[in-house]
Amino acid sequence: MLAIENLVVRYGSILALRGISLEVNEGEVVGVIGPNGAGKSTMLMASAAAIPVAEGDIRFEGETVLKERPEKVVERGISLVPEGRHIFHRLTVGENLELGATTRTDAAAVEEDRARVFELFPILKEYLGTPAGKLSGGEQQMLAIGRALLARPRLLMLDEPSLGLAPVVIDRVFETLEQLRKTGMTILLVEQHAERTLDLADRVYVLRTGSIELAGTPEDLAGNPQFEKAFLGFV
């Protein structure tokens, strides 16, 4: 579904991605873990066509997303919940959700999706008229995910959804992802919580200083001494 091929991204003289390749198949949950500065966010932003790419290709359902405008990529079915959530603080929860459906033209189906988002996050329904900046961090993360779902994405990309949240709230986020996976949603998840990511994902990539260091199923990685030493020991 998503194929990243030999992707190179530069920020001026900084080489953020040094030719990575990664694949996400339909219905899969793919995890990407790696330390700070590895290039995880860069990879997602490039896949959302939000930053320029130096070399390589990113194809979604066979067609490149490079040179596409970001809004076109959303229309084609890729939604990104970026690092830091980026909800609109001054807009109400309802307006934030409405913005999620910007590219939609099927009003009736949007209404169904809204109902589904409220099923997933009942709290959002209670706060519809509240400025989103008033929500707690966890609620803001739910809003960010709900907003992304309203685009009815075929590929949902999440960048460290657990960042800065309390452990119980993190559990809640991962439960939600588990529920979404059961609906058959294709998910590309960037995380620093290695263990939780291994529990959820069908396949995992390890990204370090702009290169893919390891890749495989959670079982492969859990048995890999190099991986255990780097990630699991400290969690």
Partner: protein, 302 residues
Amino acid sequence: MDPSEVAQNAIDAAARGSFLALVALGVALLFGIMNLVNFAYGEVILAGGYAMLIFTTWFLDASVWPLLIIWTVVVAIVFALAQERLAFRPVRHADPTTMLVTSFAVSVLLVNIAIVVWSGLARPVEIGGVTLEQFTAGEIRIRKLDVITLGAAAFLLLSLTAFLKRTSLGIQMRAASEDFRMSQLLGVPANRVIATAFFIAGILAGSVALITVGNQGSSSPGMGLFPLIFGLVAVVLGGMTSLIGAVVGGFVLGGLIVGLEQGLATYGMERFRDAFVFLAVIVMLVFRPQGLVVGRAIRERV
């Protein structure tokens, strides 16, 4: 001061304030969406002013004022959109300094075109008696133009508010001005919101041109500069990040100007009005650097 004098000054201040609020809104709108301080915005006002001159000399006289208003606003919109398309779109992804320099260049270019075509002198615009007409109520004299200014400002502010709150495009505009990148990630087309911002700024600038020419009875190459500078000050006063702040800043500045004029007149120092205005603004910013209205949520919640 007796009550009628107070009322008189309040009306003056409200008229000045609403005029400045309109300019400030245009400036703040572009700043919010593009992080652009557009000095060439004054020249959209200028374009509106000379459009009025052209209308009254070549086409019709000002007695067909509805047509004059439409014509002026349309010309201003066209100029604003042309600025966006020709000057700012090519440098949209450049750093803010580049955009700032571009806006200076566009401003200087347009002022000089006006000078070449219409000379550096003010050219009288025949707009009839509206400039002089007054209502009287007891001691109070109200200029008809001030009433028109207040009414126009109220209409534009309410329409803009309704647009921003009630329509999808309006919500997209507010989203883009809070977090442009995120709005794009949700599928809001960058070109659409930016062009809309310039379109609205054009409407505001056209209205400002109508009021300015109404007040001074002429168009001149410098006519965009005064509103722009004071509009910028109003935006800074209001805190830079919110449209409400811009409106509040405009009214506060209007009150300040009228107050200082009255106060300084007692000492025969009216000429120093602007110096005192800027001094007051600087003093205020020392004590409240975030401006009067804090817009963008500064506190990120975890």
